[in-house]
Symmetry: C2
Subunit: 284 residues, 2 copies
């Protein structure tokens, strides 16, 4: 069966030999920014859909999975996450989740493409509620350059919420960047980064972890979660800390969190870290 | 972007507003059995693909997720799974996983469509190794009728490995069938059934659990796992037992299992049962 272009948005994952399509009613917005092509579609069942350079970024229906799992495991593992930076994340979804934590006193988002944020503010206002928080600071800058200028020991958590490791985000997946992040993290600080599909991109996860280890992070932990609109429907994030381990999960705080989550819980936090044997073998 | 029919197999999940496609080199086999249309494709990246009535059943690459998670949680939760029946499961993948357990003395597979098994034997020989085991019995019969004739208390585990609850499998998702299964299960027996997508079919999971409760199963547990070739890429199975709980996970036996698994482990067993808040709220 073939899908006509008028009624379906299709993303082909060529290296995986797969494609994922969402039925759409209309293209609500499309522009060419200085960096990339940005489009918003109205789907029939997944709410609105944000697409950059032909790659699905998020849908209304299922972005809670990604944003909750990129943010809360790291923030509930850090002993006192007060100063947080988000590299990328221009849709503000991660920023908004970060600011649900009362511990946070400042959250800076460094997105290279201001147009992503402006498009999100217009078409995904629910994701952007955090941007109005007085603790939030929105910068439109190159995250790699910003990190080079950031004072040593000035952050507790760095969240790398980027597109795939091709194009503008390629420089966010190597030891040089991770080394800079390590300098900027205070003692006990945590770096967390989206790390693609456990089924499709195990080599990438392996190489990311190797680069993190090379950059001096002694403790690494990859967690997985479902993400239907991404290739394979299964995604991961990898946490890294200078030091011997990533212990210190504030389980009671997670259980008693005052904000509502749809996917994340203390039990899901533990569960997400239980890697299947095929991943453990590939990553060890 | 549109996908040509020649190079892609596409399954549309109309009610979800999604479609999933696999790039294929050729259609290896196609027939119309007495019950359904059966096709096998050679994909470029997922090995061979089994399709029934246009719905993806399994691929070489990722069926381990489904088969391991349908079988091992139930068998390691039962105290001594000696007598097992599989309703459906004509591809023999579940049967083969069942027979990895030394405790099992008999495993009967009741598949309505013999052609599914014959096609699997030819094109997916790796799934069918269990069929040659002397403990295996392959019947080609209606699972609902077979269950009505089965002696009371004659089974320890019933695995319902069926297609979606439409067409031939519709009768496997209601209280009348579950009541018959309850009669056939011995004390402590477990029924486990594939229960569709947590994201897309939460109403169905709810209704299945309600029908199981109506049929007298006091203990229910739904577990989730990734399954990239199924709609949403996220799937579930639901276990049911007459009695107060589904405790009794033989964790040490699971940890010391003599057979190799790629997804299942004792830790993954626990993790799969940690339901996210949105599921718990919908199922409570």
């Amino acid at each position: 069966m073939s899908l006509d272009e008028k009624n379906w948005f299709t993303e082909i994952a060529e290296e995986a030999g797969t494609a994922f399509s969402l039925r759409v009613n209309e293209c609500l917005h499309r522009e060419r920014s200085d960096y990339q092509d940005i489009a918003v579609y109205q789907t029939t069942k997944f709410g609105r859909l944000l697409v950059i350079d032909g790659y699905v970024m998020l849908s209304d229906r299922d972005n809670f999975l990604y944003h909750e799992m990129l943010v809360h495991p790291a923030l509930f593992t850090h002993a006192a996450p007060r100063r947080v930076a988000i590299v990328g994340g221009g849709d503000c979804g991660s920023l908004t989740e970060v600011l649900r934590h009362d511990d946070v006193v400042s959250a800076v988002q460094i997105e290279i493409d201001e147009r992503v944020t402006r498009v999100a503010e217009r078409w995904f206002p629910g994701l952007c509620t955090g941007a109005a928080d007085p603790r939030a600071e929105l910068l439109f800058d190159d995250g790699i350059e910003w990190m080079k200028r950031a004072p040593s020991g000035s952050l507790d958590v760095i969240i790398v919420d980027s597109t795939d490791p091709i194009g503008p985000a390629a420089g966010l997946f190597n030891a040089a960047f991770y080394t800079e992040c390590r300098r900027v993290l205070a003692t006990g600080g945590i770096l967390v980064q989206q790390s693609e599909s456990p089924l499709l991109h195990l080599d990438l996860i392996h190489d990311m972890r190797a680069a993190m280890a090379e950059a001096g992070y002694g403790a690494l932990a990859t967690l997985t979660f479902p993400q239907p609109v991404y290739p394979s429907g299964w995604w991961s994030a990898t946490m890294a800390r200078t030091g011997a381990n990533l212990n210190g999960f504030r389980e009671t705080a997670a259980e008693r969190r005052k904000f509502k989550t749809r996917y994340y819980s203390a039990a899901v936090h533990h569960a997400s870290l239980a890697l299947p044997p095929f991943m453990q073998e590939a990553l060890d």
